[in-house]
Symmetry: C2
Subunit: 668 residues, 2 copies
């Protein structure tokens, strides 16, 4: 391709971007215009992809970590011929219902590999994708798995703390097929980057074991040479591309003004002149479009060759590969779970739910090969590793356990990347209190509807002496608040197993398992093959001494307290039921009839949870009672804390009695 | 001091640590034992402090970022003679009510400069403290302000993403009096660090402009030389101290086993032998204790000299300095605020609350010199800078505005450090959705009861096209969930001003201001000198056409919707009140009588907020209605989103009518 041709192709990106943003009167033109040359080289010379088969498993992955530059991605998807990305979509940029959201949204259009926008996330997703590629290649061989992961990231992404975790992890794991193109334009929102940052990025990446290069981002030959060199290294690669933000804008190029606002008609007209682009808005000259479409067709041949290689594999190998891609649960999954639950109900162990989780994992990881686990340096505490899970290392990616290091946020974002890549069901652990560190990624798991499982242990004051900085008080409530996150707080080994089943079957979103540090008795001694936790809440023990007058609701470690309180109340001849509510989201989804029958219409309701009241009001009637926390915890042995904060069976009983009394007084 | 003496002094730390942890049967002995030599050198040769005057403003600050090693700090405080830290406290390590919590808690004992535990936080606090020192020195001169900030951080702190933000910011701002001692023991919880990380830490710090050294952490002369050299540089300094974790433990030293569990009696006995320490548990030999107490007395002379220098200053300068330390609001603060509110009620501007916030800041920053502001690269969006706030730079720290860069988490933690240092009231901004990035630090602001103000703009789907990754839906609820955080979501310019007053007067905790991107009409056209928002909720408009039948509750941008719905209902002759509830926490604190009068006993209640329902149930009766969000947002212009998600005055009106109808049916 001649030099002119390249610039024309790059300008097609620039034109579409500035025009779409102008039409929407909203958007970020600077980055697409600045990185158009780099992106053109990447997609016309290197990216292995086939717009006619966007789901081709062995395609290269492209992540736009600087998600605000979404028009860059949309332009490329349109130009290379993705059917989803029609001109109409481009014209409807940032409008309701379009596939072209302000920031790229996974699931909206083929070719969008992950949802970005919140800075640094995409880069960390890409680490997960590159890791998944290596794990997949170790299992199925290079003939079937051999693709790169490319990222475009900006100054913002690289200032974010999560970038450190991502870079460090990638370097440690030697993810040699990860290539990051850094939009080195020295501009951020507040102005020139030297207002806020002086980091030597190349040195920083080198410190984490990456190879680095710096090129003129507007010199396609140099960019091409750099990417080719990066492909050859067995370390992850950084290519800093020195660019001019808003390249082509006659007066605004190089300034923060182009970062996040439409250029304006005058500037756009000036850009057309400066770039030598005279086509009308949204019109791509035939020959330039053809050149782009041809670039998109480059992938057809390698894709067909790959399909041929797959076809030539044995029947078994093909089946295995398909099963790998599907990451389905085994046919007899229900049976496996039920059988294990039956044993638990019989053995009735007293066991912390974090330990029960590990035991369940022994069964599940054996039954579900797609599961890959890990922990952010708390393996021995989270109990996330099982006997059949050797670690994944830089030398050997055939394992199933990832030591993520003290990188909760990087871990969560990498897990998103692993899930998005396909072929794996990732789960990872830390302390529940540290969900605060990775919350942005948990939110994205939910937004992207990815099956990522968060194993969050040490879930309350029950952890004891580590004190208030480590004791969750509001975390379960705060996680319940995120749309599409299923929070499960099981009360014993049986519910823990059910929680895992729910999480594994939840193919449209993440699940958080909140597990205890301390030992808990098995309450589900009566075996039920059905997954009772799947209804979110159910009657664990019905009233016996008479019609139900009181309904006690609890989750996790406090269900035991409710059971004890029930015993006290029943002794006083007050018919009392205990409702275990391992998941409020699931309970809320049940038909009202079911919920009412569980909650007991007209009964006195008291909830108990070693956390805040915030989410309980929806289940408590006006005179409902709550026993829980309304402050931070404290550093002391767990039993003393439960006493001190008044979270006891006694307190629950007292509340119930007090409400009954008040009702009697009112003549109810 | 002879070499023997040093090791004896260091062993005093080791002994107290291992014995206290053993007694508590809980704790982390490895780090205190590993860093005892370094800490001894630091506190006996360099740290400028006076245990008899722990609040001496010009003391050096010591931050134990690796907070799990709390016994290191407690040992030193006891040995150097802090009255708070008696032997009884040491013996009561991790017991209820002791000052010696599992992780150091600010406010529990003198000498604890910040609460740590969650990794990386302390390091980032220290950046704030060092920055505060420079800003204070720029204002009051080196004679009064000249102290260092020392940090002990471990591998965990340095793996955390927040460490990158902290290091990068410190390097950029040239915080030359910040010295980080890295406990380079190559062990983390899951095992040797090479399981998870391969970073060249020194190179990494160099990339951010720090000077670096690496020393044998058990060679006091080398450590001393390194600290002395670090003090001379005008860049922040890293000293990597190669140590053996659990140094002295005969079989467990150097292994992860010493990280987070008591050593056990046998190992402790072995350590006593190996270290040559034969004193009984909690007994410090007289001569060694005296050496430590003498070290503690080192600070008396410089402290007295400082007091003399202060006394010699002019009356004005002394008053200024005292006012600086107190960081009080001016005497006529109420008047200033009321006067400004009066003008607003008269002018009744239509203005986004983020812009109203900026205008209020123009008034407030002029009246309150202690305020220092900033933003995480969103100055033009958060509108946090005023005309009298020049930036703080590496060359000139006399300014009042900090460009934090894309470092939300580092910013929040630094603000904690600035507040803890004293002399300043820090506020900083980002998008509300990115509170998720800095949540751990917000939580610590609350736990430490620090006056840190979070200016969080773009607070709902009202921000429009940037889409669901940027649109808060659950964030206000999630922030309300954190104990001691005051969340304020003002409805107009007047409430915004009141919110600022509340935040500035809140000396015992952080406040979050949730502000709109879009313009909002002034609803408080009737001036009130009193701060109505301070009650958390109040009747904005009472029923007029008859007795109140319906109570509409709302916050922020939705109060306007409620007002419009009220108009529709009143037109139907249904007496309707509008309650503005800018802060649920403050409302919850009011006497029940007030709250009931505001909420209208027996009235139909409908709440409207462009967020989730989770925290509203406490104010809604069983048949209460809610208009809001129960999913993520979408990318489109704001007005279309409000329509699409059904958050309209119409919807509110319909709900109210429907409930009234249902009640009529029930014969209520």
């Amino acid at each position: 391709m001649t030099a002119i041709k390249h610039s024309a192709m790059a300008n097609a990106i620039r034109a579409l971007s500035m025009d779409a943003i102008q039409k929407a009167n909203s958007g970020h033109p600077g980055m697409p215009m600045g990185m158009a040359d780099v992106a053109t080289v990447l997609f016309t010379k290197f990216m292995k992809f086939d717009p006619s088969k966007p789901e081709w498993p062995d395609r290269d992955r492209f992540v736009l970590s600087a998600g605000h530059g979404s028009m860059l991605l949309y332009s490329i998807l349109h130009l290379t011929g993705y059917k989803d990305m029609s001109l109409a979509q481009i014209k409807n940029f940032r409008q309701f219902g379009s596939k072209t959201a302000g920031h790229p949204e996974y699931g909206h259009a083929a070719g969008i590999e992950t949802t970005t926008g919140p800075l640094g996330q995409g880069l960390a997703n890409a680490v997960g994708m590159a890791l998944a590629e290596r794990m997949a290649a170790a299992r199925h061989g290079k003939q079937l798995v051999d693709h790169h992961t490319y990222v475009i990231a900006g100054d913002g992404c690289l200032m974010e703390g999560i970038s450190h975790e991502a870079i460090s992890l990638a370097g440690h794991l030697g993810l040699g097929k990860l290539i990051v193109l850094f939009d080195d334009n020295q501009i951020s929102i507040d102005g020139p980057t030297d207002l806020t940052v002086s980091d030597d990025q190349l040195r920083r990446f080198q410190a984490s074991g990456w190879d680095t290069q710096s090129v003129d981002g507007h010199d396609p030959a140099a960019v091409e040479k750099a990417i080719a060199a990066a492909q050859k290294t067995d370390t992850p690669s950084l290519i800093a591309c020195r660019t001019v933000i808003g390249y082509g804008a006659p007066t605004k190029a190089g300034s923060a003004a182009t970062h996040g606002a439409p250029l304006g008609d005058a500037e756009i007209a000036g850009a057309r002149e400066k770039l030598g682009w005279d086509a009308k808005p949204f019109v791509i000259p035939k020959d330039i479009l053809k050149a782009w479409r041809d670039a998109g067709k480059r992938g057809e041949k390698p894709r067909k060759a790959w399909e041929t290689r797959l076809k030539k594999k044995s029947v078994d190998a093909r089946r295995e590969f398909k099963e790998f891609l599907d990451a389905d649960l085994p046919q007899d999954f229900d049976k496996i779970v039920a059988s294990y639950k039956k044993k638990l109900s019989k053995d009735a162990p007293k066991i912390a739910t974090r330990a029960a989780s590990q035991k369940a994992l022994e069964v599940l990881t054996a039954a579900v090969p797609a599961m890959v686990g890990g922990s952010a340096d708390l393996t021995g505490s989270n109990l996330t590793q099982t006997g059949i899970m050797p670690p994944v290392t830089a030398k050997d990616a055939s394992g199933r356990y990832i030591y993520y290091g003290v990188r909760e946020h990087g871990m969560a974002a990498a897990m998103n990347g692993i899930a998005l890549h396909g072929g794996f069901i990732p789960y990872g652990g830390t302390f529940l209190v540290f969900t605060d560190y990775c919350r942005p990624s948990i939110r994205l798991s939910a937004l992207m509807e990815q099956r990522v499982i968060y194993v969050m242990t040490h879930d309350s004051i029950g952890l004891g002496e580590d004190g208030p900085t480590h004791q969750p008080v509001e975390h379960v409530a705060a996680l319940r608040a995120i749309p599409n996150v299923t929070v499960l707080r099981p009360c014993d080994a049986v519910e823990t197993t059910e929680a895992w089943q729910i999480a594994l079957e939840n193919t449209t979103g993440p699940s958080v398992l909140a597990l205890s540090r301390q030992g808990l008795p098995t309450l589900r001694t009566k075996h039920s093959a059905r997954n009772l936790s799947a209804k979110g809440g159910y009657v664990l023990q019905e009233a016996e001494v008479g019609p139900r007058q009181v309904t006690l609701m609890a989750t996790g470690s406090e269900v035991e307290l409710a059971v004890n309180a029930r015993a006290m109340l029943e002794k006083k001849k007050i018919g009392t039921a205990v409702v275990s509510m391992p998941s409020m989201e699931l309970f809320a989804k049940q038909p009202a009839k079911y919920r009412d029958s569980v909650l007991g219409d007209g009964t006195v309701r008291v909830a108990v949870e070693a956390g805040i009241r915030q989410c309980w009001d929806q289940w408590l009637c006006p005179d409902g009672g709550f026993v829980g926390m309304d402050s931070f915890g404290a550093s002391a042995p767990a039993n003393e804390l439960y006493e001190h904060f008044g979270i006891t069976a006694d307190a629950v009983t007292k509340q119930a009695m007090s409400i009954l009394k008040a009702r009697a007084k009112r003549g109810k």
